[in-house]
């Protein structure tokens, strides 16, 4: 079902945990739908110098969180914002079709953290235009529609 890479990142996830006094924290997902991702960033001079995550969710949710943290570590904010869910999935040698939404969550967790960071620091990133950190919650008014 899962690639070896997914299983590796699930069994040995990188960067699990919290960052005390993180510069940016973002959380996406909904416990109703069975997955929540929380991302902590430490940012220095526009560069992500540390990142941690906590995830409640299935194997691929944990694996994509782990992979996403690896992919943005040491990157600039702009680079991190350009991280696409497809790139995360590809880095994991692919995900089963029903699990692609997990990679979307990972992308959004990063964006959400940076969104709050930008808000707090009065910064503007064109990559965040149109991004709504609460969009995911809204999706779920209809409980039937988790993971569409």
């Amino acid at each position: 079902m899962y690639s070896d890479k997914v299983m590796d990142h699930f069994m040995n996830p990188r960067n699990v945990g919290e960052i005390e006094n993180a510069d940016a924290v973002g959380q996406v997902g909904n416990p109703k739908c069975g997955d929540i991702m929380k991302m902590y960033l430490k940012i220095e001079d526009g560069v992500i110098v540390d990142v941690k995550f906590k995830t409640f969710g299935c194997g691929s949710a944990i694996a994509t969180s782990s992979m996403a943290t690896e992919m943005i570590m040491g990157k600039t904010i702009e680079e991190a914002l350009n991280l696409s869910n497809k790139a995360v999935a590809e880095a994991l040698d692919g995900l089963p079709p029903v699990k692609m939404h997990c990679s979307v969550l990972a992308e959004q967790a990063v964006k959400s953290a940076i969104y709050h960071y930008a808000e707090k620091n009065g910064l503007y990133f064109k990559e965040l235009e149109g991004f709504d950190p609460d969009a995911d919650e809204d999706h779920h008014h209809d409980e039937e529609s988790c993971h569409i």
């Binding site: 739908c33 995830t55 969710g57 299935c58 944990i62 029903v98 409980e143």
Partner: protein, 392 residues
């Protein structure tokens, strides 16, 4: 080789060696079509008749009340649609429960689209239907009550005898899906007053792709599969002779010492539940503590998600499930766990461990040893657990 512990007996069971041995000659030696007149076929007619008798005996039915199908799902579909179409002039109302297997639920939903009306009874926190609610749901145009014998996810055993009595008192046909109960609980169809009952071989150490429907003599029922004259013209198709023979043998073996089988499973089950409770905080048992299938353990482990749990267990060789095997294609939490009133969050953390005849005490020990650290590890990663710890 890595240790492998199969604890998903409710999904399917390994076939017993004796069952396979009985089946083997029918694949390519005694392979004739039972409908044929010649010797290759005649012998098989006898073999099929013997299996029918073996199964009939286990539930106190007459052997001409047993009809072979391709499995539990076909039996459920046949019973429900068969009664619905046979009695649609009399009425178009059906009563079932919210915790039925999808083979029942989706059949009922299909019939709704075709103009039937269906009442889905609620269940309590244990998964038990209420006889009062059932009584209140009965209408003059109710033609069928279909309530499962025991639930495949949480193991709860329904009050079948009382339901059957109520159905009978109102002249309503009563079907029960006993796919999980058969071979794990004593079933006397006459004493219980059952009109139609679905069973499936692969849940009782028999082959996949073969099941049966018990049809009480005189029950009005359209065929689901029309065609040749097999099964007294009620279910067409060349008989799956090896499957039927295997089912017969498996049925016989399952009832050789049903008491012993039940006792052994119940003691392992209760030990596992007890030990896990002591080791894992924020965990609780789903389903009824005693009105429950002997081999069923179903727990919710809060703050973590079921699939992650299954994968982690699989990595240490433990095979288990989260919700019905049939529903694992979907990501919605199980309809059964919803029906007993769990929140989505909690339902997502469900784990079903089902034990069977090949389960040893060492297997149970292994789970007791392996599961708690897995839970710990996943909780350490969970943002939901964070808050709880904080509150401690």
């Amino acid at each position: 080789m890595r240790k492998k512990v199969y604890l998903d007996y409710s999904a399917t069971t390994p076939m017993k060696k004796e069952v396979l041995d009985e089946m083997l000659p029918f694949f390519n030696v005694q392979f004739g079509n039972p409908s044929s007149i010649h010797s290759f076929g005649r012998d098989n007619k006898t073999a099929v008749a013997k299996a029918r008798e073996q199964i009939a005996k286990t539930i106190n039915a007459a052997s001409d009340e047993i009809f072979f199908t391709a499995g539990g799902s076909e039996s459920d579909n046949w019973a429900i649609k068969g009664v619905a179409y046979a009695l649609k002039e009399k009425g178009k109302h059906i009563i079932t429960s919210k915790i039925e297997h999808h083979a029942v639920l989706h059949t009922c939903q299909y019939l709704e689209k075709e103009g039937f009306e269906v009442t889905y009874l609620n269940v309590d926190a244990y998964g038990l239907i209420s006889l009062e609610e059932l009584k209140a749901a009965i209408r003059p145009d109710t033609i069928l009550i279909t309530i499962m014998f025991a639930n495949n996810e949480i193991g709860t055993v329904e009050p079948v005898k009382e339901i059957a009595a109520m159905a009978k008192a109102h002249g309503i046909t009563f079907h029960t899906d006993a796919v999980q109960a058969y071979g794990n609980l004593p079933i006397d169809v006459k004493e219980l007053g059952i009109d139609l009952m679905s069973i499936s071989a692969h849940k009782v150490y028999g082959p996949k792709g073969i099941g049966a429907l018990y049809v009480k003599k005189g029950t009005k029922l359209h065929p689901l599969i029309h065609g040749g004259a097999q099964e007294k013209k009620r279910r067409a198709g060349t008989e799956n002779v090896p499957g039927i023979v295997g089912f017969g043998k498996a049925a016989e073996m399952a009832f050789e010492d049903l008491e012993g089988h039940m006792e052994s499973l119940i003691s392992k089950r209760d030990r596992l539940i007890q030990e896990l409770k002591e080791r894992i905080p924020f965990m609780h048992l789903n389903g009824h503590p005693t009105k429950r299938l002997p081999g069923n353990v179903n727990i919710c482990i809060q703050f973590i998600e079921g699939e992650a749990l299954l994968l982690s267990l699989d990595m240490v060789g433990i095979a288990s499930s989260s919700g019905s095997a049939c529903t694992s294609g979907s990501l919605d939490p199980s309809h059964v766990l919803m029906a007993i009133g769990l929140t989505h969050e909690v339902a997502h953390g469900s784990l079903r461990i089902t034990i069977g005849d090949f389960t040893t005490d060492e297997d149970i020990d292994y789970v007791i040893q392996q599961l708690p650290p897995i839970v710990d590890r996943l909780r350490q990663m969970s943002p939901l657990f964070e808050k709880v710890k904080g509150g401690n």
